[in-house]
Symmetry: C2
Subunit: 233 residues, 2 copies
DNA sequence: TGACGAATAAGTCTGACTTTTTCTTGGTGT
DNA sequence: ACACCAAGAAAAAGTCAGACTTATTCGTCA
């Protein structure tokens, strides 16, 4: 899925991106295009393309006579899905997971409220289907199936909100949920309370009850935040 | 500020980016690198770099034997500040302004709540200063000064929230506020009620009252949304 | 229907050249 | 002796042109 080594410059990015976002090159570090090209055994043109991409993500800045300097973390385009993936795969995974969960807790309730107003019949049906799927996979260590329905559930809500900015967070939510399941609590069955909340949320949206949908989503988010606090206090 | 013609490929982007985000090339359109290079009178290497950047923004996809195809809007990296600027400068400016304002209404209340808990004494002082600056420029067509303090105010809150994802939205908020002031109501003085809300919000954060800060921010956001409804119903 | 071959456009590499920015050096004046 | 500025050298990115490779698609023919 990631950069899919689509071309040589993609391979270079798959190596350089994680390294930079992991902080292997501290802010202010200077890289030289030619040296990098040699190190990765690619031509300068290919390396230049890779640098351009890193530059567009605000991970580095390229200046004449000085080289390619790494920018401070505060300037990175942290909403770039690629950057998010790199960081989730690297060292500050916990911090990234936390900030993303806080972001979710801010956005998803509002999105759910909007979804209650704008969701089509088809979207409501999808939502119910996802919720039922979650229930069906909530017992007996069937986390893989549970995860898929959970992701689909939240994605439908974000799409149904009718806001393109919210909709584009579907991938981020998917990454967060996947990361959580795969790396933290892979052994335990999901919290039954959370499952119930999802079912009720689907009902609220179907009923067009924006306030209720918003409140239920807040409870779900609250649970996710507490889960993080338990694992990394 | 934008891409600042930093290099030839930057100039090309300043021309191609707005054109694509404005929908001049409908999704599925095919561009050819060589043809573009000729059109912009640059070498293929420069054009390739530009295409790589557009590709990293998910605006286009480059495939062998077929060319550079424009992706559907739903796949764009709409959180990329550059993409936001391009869209704000283009045709679907109103829609972009609306989705960004909705995004703000979701995030800023939560950010304010967190800021009430985490803001340093220095940040509180800055906040009060900004609020006072807004009051001072709220009468007599001094919108330029008002805008600067408004931007600084919201930026401080987002930074003080302690969440990096929120902090990085400072630029987006700045763009929205600037756009609003410069293109919509440049003649009228700001709503006195909004000014008061900002002052009270600064106080709430200084007092560490998260609930109150959150509620006040919701009211501010509500006002911004209504303003949009009035201008483009 | 499928397989083979031709056409096509992106992808890659190389080498030479330009331009900008920084560092050094040397000279000047106080 | 020190501060300061200007001219030049050096370094690295930036640009270009041309030749070649490779993957993919399309058309043709069996």
């Amino acid at each position: 899925m990631s950069t899919l080594g689509r071309g040589l410059h993609g391979r270079v990015l798959d190596a350089l991106g994680p390294a930079i976002t992991a902080g292997e090159y501290p802010p202010g570090s200077v890289l030289r295009t030619d040296e990098l090209a040699q190190r990765f055994d690619v031509s300068r043109s290919v390396m230049r393309e890779a640098v351009r991409v890193l530059e567009s993500m605000h991970l580095v800045e390229s200046r004449r006579r000085v080289g390619v300097t790494v920018r401070p973390k505060a300037e990175w385009n942290v909403y770039d899905p690629q950057v998010i993936r790199w960081r989730l795969a690297g060292a500050d995974r916990p911090q990234q997971l936390r900030s993303l969960t806080v972001l979710r807790s801010a956005i998803e309730p509002v999105a759910a409220g909007l979804a209650a107003k704008h969701a089509t019949a088809e979207q409501c049906a999808e939502l119910t289907e996802c919720a039922l799927g979650m229930v069906a996979h909530s017992k007996g260590h069937r986390l893989e199936g549970y995860l898929l329905h959970d992701i689909a559930f939240h994605r439908v809500i974000l799409n149904a909100s009718g806001n393109e900015m919210f909709a584009r967070l579907g991938d981020v939510v998917a990454e967060v949920l996947t990361g959580r399941t795969r790396h933290e609590v892979m052994f335990e069955d999901p919290d039954p309370a959370a499952v119930t909340l999802h079912v009720r949320l689907a009902e609220a949206i179907r009923a067009g009850d924006a306030g209720h949908a918003e409140e239920l989503t807040r409870e779900i988010a609250e649970g996710a935040l507490q889960e993080l606090d338990i694992l990394a206090p």
